[in-house]
């Protein structure tokens, strides 16, 4: 069902935009002034230009809140969000979000969904149609241009949504757990597919997830977040070669070592929240230690 090949023919005629996003001392409180509830606590980090930054943290840690702050759907209580050094306060097509569950418009076909943004910008005619067909082709949905979202599979919906964001050529793409809820098979294919899309695009991406394998596979930089309230715990550079294939990364020692490091930090966080997956992390760390014991002889 998922055709994981990418046709390069459909690259956009515009040069891909690419920005750098800085989050400086950002906090977000909800509730009243007397009883504030801190959701994001004094976060500072940079989403580097033309890199794929992955933010990972336990479920319910406030990651979606920071996504809304980055997209300016909400304003931070303190601190600023800067795009290429300029403070951002309003939603704009320079920072587009691909949401957890599909936010495609159910009343529009794939094609209509994709051209919605450009049309709102006043683009029209054959150049727009051509760009739209190109981008739809790039995500492998050419045959589904006239389908409504409820006629597409989960994986196809996510790709349609990628296309809808891509055609706007955003300086920053923000993806908030886009593959959550997909079955394991489709998820794996979508991850490889998305990695290739990123590798061909040269633009700046922020990808939010709770899945450690997904994080390691995709990331250039990994932001490990603490549990509620959201804080930055650690930044790990993921120096795995690109282009990446799922099979290579799964078997790579370097990748497993990174996973081990990330997991031991996440594990501490997960313990605090009784999040599911503690035991899995435990088992992984245990077997990893046994396998890579310094004195182990093979």
């Amino acid at each position: 069902m998922v055709e994981a090949t990418i046709t390069r023919a459909g690259t956009m005629n515009e040069k891909s935009a690419s920005g750098e996003l800085e989050v400086r001392d950002v906090s977000k409180f909800y509730g009243t002034d007397r009883y504030p509830k801190t959701v994001v606590d004094n976060c500072s980090f940079i989403v580097k230009r033309s890199k794929l930054t992955v933010m990972i943290g336990p479920s319910g840690s406030g990651k979606s809140t920071i996504v809304r702050l980055l997209a300016s759907f909400e304003q931070p209580s303190t601190g600023v969000v800067l795009l290429d050094g300029k403070k951002v306060t309003k939603p704009d097509r320079d920072r587009l979000v691909v949401f957890q569950e599909s936010a495609l418009y159910p009343w529009m076909t794939t094609y209509e969904n994709v051209v919605f943004g450009p049309k709102a910008q006043g683009r029209q005619g054959e150049p727009l149609a051509e760009a739209a067909r190109g981008v739809i082709d790039r995500v492998g949905l050419s045959q589904f241009q006239k389908s409504y979202p409820n006629q597409l599979s989960g994986g196809m919906q996510r790709r349609a949504e990628l296309a809808r964001a891509l055609i706007n050529n955003p300086a920053i793409m923000i993806l908030d757990e886009p593959f959550r809820g997909l079955d394991a098979m489709t998820k794996g294919l979508m991850q490889e597919y998305y990695a290739q899309l990123f590798e061909n695009s040269q633009s700046t991406h922020l990808f939010v997830t709770t899945d450690i394998d997904e994080a390691i596979f995709l990331a250039d930089r990994l932001l490990i977040m603490s549990n509620f309230p959201l804080r930055l715990r650690q930044v790990i550079d993921v120096d795995l070669p690109r282009p990446r294939r799922l099979a290579d990364v799964v078997t790579s020692d370097a990748a497993n070592q990174l996973k081990m490091t990330a997991l031991s930090i996440l594990h501490e966080e997960a313990l605090k929240s009784f999040a599911v997956g503690n035991q899995m992390a435990d088992h992984f760390i245990e077997s990893y230690k046994q396998r890579y014991r310094p004195d182990a002889s093979d």
Binding site: A71, P91, M108
Partner: protein, 280 residues
């Protein structure tokens, strides 16, 4: 049994066959039920006083060529469409305004909510006083029946729009008008269609009662055909006062059919203007 087995292919679809078989069976039971007294001398309660379908059909057959009967259909349909149309034209913008403008909501909604529980039929005396003609009174009451339902559905639909739809549209640079026209309106459309089909049902209930109470409008006709100017509600009432029980049943079934035609039309229209809602 042979004929029954052949029926599905004869009629094209199994669904149609089932519907026809069910209606036929119901008619057979009804026939037996109402004739039971004649055959055995022991009249069944309730159904025993209802004329059997064979006699109803005969009366109906004689009415097919009757101008007054069709005039009743025409008048009731006219009133339903008028009241329903007015309720749509006024109700959709009113509901949208309630849903989208906080100030307007806070101002108008309490008044609306006080008026809403008043049954349309409670308005009959007041309406007769307000409006210069009886026709306008009936139209007004019919309008009320659909109006509240449509407004409540529009408000509910427009207030429960997924916030992400609007956020994405804003992020992609859509103007306020574009957001309304291309996002808010289509995502409210399913609720509008539901409101319309429920409202259509209420309209039929109300128009018939209004016709009965108000005496069938301005131009009352002769008694035989159930009145030449009264609508289906008055047709039934007139048949009752005239003592033709068969004709009462004809009137009732006519309203059933008219209501069915109306809701089918709404559904078909809904499928046309909201094709994405059709099951795949």
């Amino acid at each position: 049994m042979f004929a029954l087995a052949q029926l599905p292919t004869m009629l094209g679809t199994r669904a149609t066959a089932r519907a026809i078989i069910a209606i036929t069976l119901a008619a057979v039971f009804w026939e037996i039920g109402s004739r039971f007294g004649d055959w055995t001398g022991a009249r069944l309660p309730f159904i025993g006083v209802v004329p059997p379908p064979s006699r109803v059909l005969l009366v109906w057959y004689n009415l097919i060529g009757d101008y007054g009967y069709w005039q009743s259909w025409y008048l009731s349909f006219l009133r339903v469409l008028g009241g329903f149309g007015a309720a749509m034209v006024l109700g959709i913008p009113f509901g949208m305004a309630l849903a989208l403008n906080r100030t307007f909501y806070q101002t108008a909604f309490p008044t609306f909510e006080v008026l809403r529980p008043i049954p349309p039929l409670a308005w009959v005396p007041a309406a007769i006083l307000f409006w210069p003609t009886q026709e306008l009174s009936i139209a007004f009451i019919t309008f009320l029946g659909a109006f509240y339902t449509i407004v409540i559905n529009v408000v509910g639909g427009a207030r429960s729009i997924d916030a992400r739809y609007i956020q994405s549209a804003n992020a992609m640079g859509a103007s306020r008008w574009t957001v309304f026209r291309r996002v808010v309106l289509p995502s409210t459309l399913p609720s509008i269609i539901v409101g319309a089909s429920v409202g259509m049902g209420v309209t039929w209930e109300v128009v018939v009662a209004a016709e009965m109470i108000s005496g069938g409008g301005s131009s009352m006709g002769s008694g035989t055909g159930g009145g030449t100017g009264g609508g289906l509600g008055f047709f039934i009432w007139n048949s009752y006062t005239g003592g033709s029980y068969e004709q009462i049943i004809v009137g009732m079934i006519s309203i059933g059919i008219a209501g069915y035609i109306s809701s089918s039309a709404i559904r078909a229209l809904g499928d046309r203007i909201a094709p994405w809602l059709k099951p795949r």
